[in-house]
Symmetry: C2
Subunit: 503 residues, 2 copies
Amino acid sequence: MTKKPKTAISPTRNEDYPEWYQQVIRAADMAEKSPVRGCMVIKPWGYAIWENIVRGLDDLFRATGVKNAYFPLFIPLSFLEKEAEHVEGFAKECAVVSHHRLEQGENGLVPAGPLQEPLVVRPTSETIIGDAFSKWITSYRDLPLLINQWANVVRWEMRTRIFLRTSEFLWQEGHTAHATEGEAEERTRQMLDIYAQFVEESLAIPVIKGVKSRSETFPGAVQTQCIEAMMQDRKALQAGTSHFLGQNFARASGIKFQTREEKEEYAWTTSWGVSTRLIGGLIMTHSDDDGLVLPPRVASAHVVLLPIYRKPDDQAAVMDYTEKLARRLRALRYHDRPLTVEMDTREIGGARGWEWVKKGIPLRVEIGPRDIRSNSVFVGRRDSGKKESISTDQFVADICGILDEIQTNLFQKALDFRQTHTKTLDDRDTLYDFFTPENAGRPEIHGGFVQAPWCGSDQCEAVLKTDLSVTIRCIPFDSEPTTGSCICCGSAANQQVILAKAY
Amino acid sequence: MTKKPKTAISPTRNEDYPEWYQQVIRAADMAEKSPVRGCMVIKPWGYAIWENIVRGLDDLFRATGVKNAYFPLFIPLSFLEKEAEHVEGFAKECAVVSHHRLEQGENGLVPAGPLQEPLVVRPTSETIIGDAFSKWITSYRDLPLLINQWANVVRWEMRTRIFLRTSEFLWQEGHTAHATEGEAEERTRQMLDIYAQFVEESLAIPVIKGVKSRSETFPGAVQTQCIEAMMQDRKALQAGTSHFLGQNFARASGIKFQTREEKEEYAWTTSWGVSTRLIGGLIMTHSDDDGLVLPPRVASAHVVLLPIYRKPDDQAAVMDYTEKLARRLRALRYHDRPLTVEMDTREIGGARGWEWVKKGIPLRVEIGPRDIRSNSVFVGRRDSGKKESISTDQFVADICGILDEIQTNLFQKALDFRQTHTKTLDDRDTLYDFFTPENAGRPEIHGGFVQAPWCGSDQCEAVLKTDLSVTIRCIPFDSEPTTGSCICCGSAANQQVILAKAY
């Protein structure tokens, strides 16, 4: 009998995946629950990832002509009511501001100054941005209008999980208006492609691009496009969405323009967003039973230097060597941002190294008296666990290459995992087996993504949801037209869809 | 009689300063009022300035060891009550969230799901960050803790003015905890110095650094330090504050730590912030009767290229030349960010040039067939109004130098203005004349900053406020100890203060 290997995170992924997730976040010191129900505190190690996501995406948006702006946190109640489906989708779970003052009551402060019209804390800004667009746009010359906002939004959630589902979260929402349907459709896809590119290249998370079914479409949209990723529990995570809104929101908000031919028309609009949820996806894609694993392109820091000495006599030489190395490394750039170097000089022995493993930093570098004598450093990689002695000059010359190798490695590992756990099925019984909880302990026959033919009916979709808690994640862009039978009802299918349990 | 010169902005600064301010913002397309009372929409041309402020300050913070984090938008009512002065200062003007759902009523949506404890939309995050600090800090090893947050905050304002006073605004709030009083005091001053450096170097606004009087101190703080700037109507604008909080907030929030000697002590804390108000200060410092004037270091864009041609035959050559120049310019960096180049190809003739004047872009470059033949460009400077033909190669080589010259020029002009309108007075009658509205049209004897001796009593401060609407802006750090008499009551003064009307 082999002994169970000791891991830094308990429980392990296999033992209790949801609890493992929480423990990874805690051990890496990324975020925590706040005293306000459903809201999180994002701590520096977690927030730095968000800052890198913001910087990376913002550059990509900007390169396509998008400009940033900022709209009010509050939305008048009447605005939410403008688009019928939209109010259905969002009015249920809103923070409602009813008063604008506090007064001393008998038992402390009490709300005072009731508002004539209550305000809603934005769950999304479609309606208030729509109102602005209706004033900004008068002529075809004002189009396209390409606006993005980085902001906090609030959706009152009953069951929350840090980064994945919180009452308040950070996101960006892009909103564009166009003179033609075709141009708006093109923009919808362009932004989805940017999301896919960024999530794959920078977060090292492979995604499937496709279209949502009618029932999963954004309230009020004509079409919702999405990117879907597979987590290590083989459930899907929707990592980003891009909506083609047709003229629905333009009609609701009165976004009209005069065409070149002097006719008045409603604009064609889109909206698209990603959120701090991406950090949850990153954690669940790459981390292991020793904690967080960070892809270098968005890592909170790239490398930590750990000076090691036992004898006080060695301290000065080791510290000096470490500081010189830090300076050399900090002068480097990795993918257009300065290489981020942590230096941990705490005298807490081996615990120090483990802390950095749990924090998922791509590279740990130990520097002791013997290393200095041989002018080398002892480098540990978080992705492979490999440790080796490298000449210091070589390490400085190679570090960006090593980081790129880690980035590629993480992506490939995640892609292999997804491919291993994606099945093409056309038979209802096998599908039911695949998603039956009793088989949960047998990954060879259970759980993951299923590609299957679907007849297109809401009813079959509903049946699968009720029976298996499985949803149509998307109709992939690259799926071939099919002539098979619907995996649910057996009637003629017209498309292949991705089925999975999801976050 | 000379004809009144035609200006792009009406009214002019002299005719109606507050209205001129609004018109500058409108003409530059920076921001506008929103349908939500007291909230603003920050449009791309205004928001880009904020993004440049964020980037610039963030780098300076980071270099001193500060890390960014994010805390919840909502604060439980009970938290606000923890610090007695603090609740006094902030509870009066809060957005109160009382419900978490909307339901269809007879006449539309109505709030539902009342909250057990109402939540307040953060007017500042002292209390909720204090709560986090109380959990994060247990030992002297956890100190100093240096945290900053970029966020939106809400203070319900009755009279609002875009950028200067709005119900919602964007800001940063830094919060630090230290093991010793001295270290916290040092940090308070360090951050004020960073604000002063940034505001002077990047916004080109000269500031006076000093300490607030007791009555102007942040509610709950031991000391508030500030930077004060003079606007073109000679009123003061508080451009940033840094608070030494002593152990007040640590005591209120229970931020305790074990010292090296294993004693338990309260931490010493600071907080410091600047906001989108800085944009208001920038507008009021530099702009003129033709509209906005942007300091290059934070300008939304640095240069606009305006291709000019009358004959269709010239179009291809002019456009080609312009695009080549744009590419060369975009490859340059100005103070560590890419040079931002706008290209305006609209066929709207002379109106186009005026639009860019009103938008305050530092440099306008006209390119016509004749310029191409001489391989030169016609460059207009927004600061001096100077226009000249420069060889294209020379322009590309010199542009960063020209921008620096504009930056220096704007700062110097603002400094001269402030010095011209700052008087050292020690006589009560002259002071009253200086601030009497009847003299408002006579800048030679009226309005600006007054440096005067003060006895230190709240009463004299209150008298000046009531009689003249004048406040003590600060006790400058560099003011000499004084042996004169208080300008208000005539008794012995112990300090020189800056008096002014203020925003």
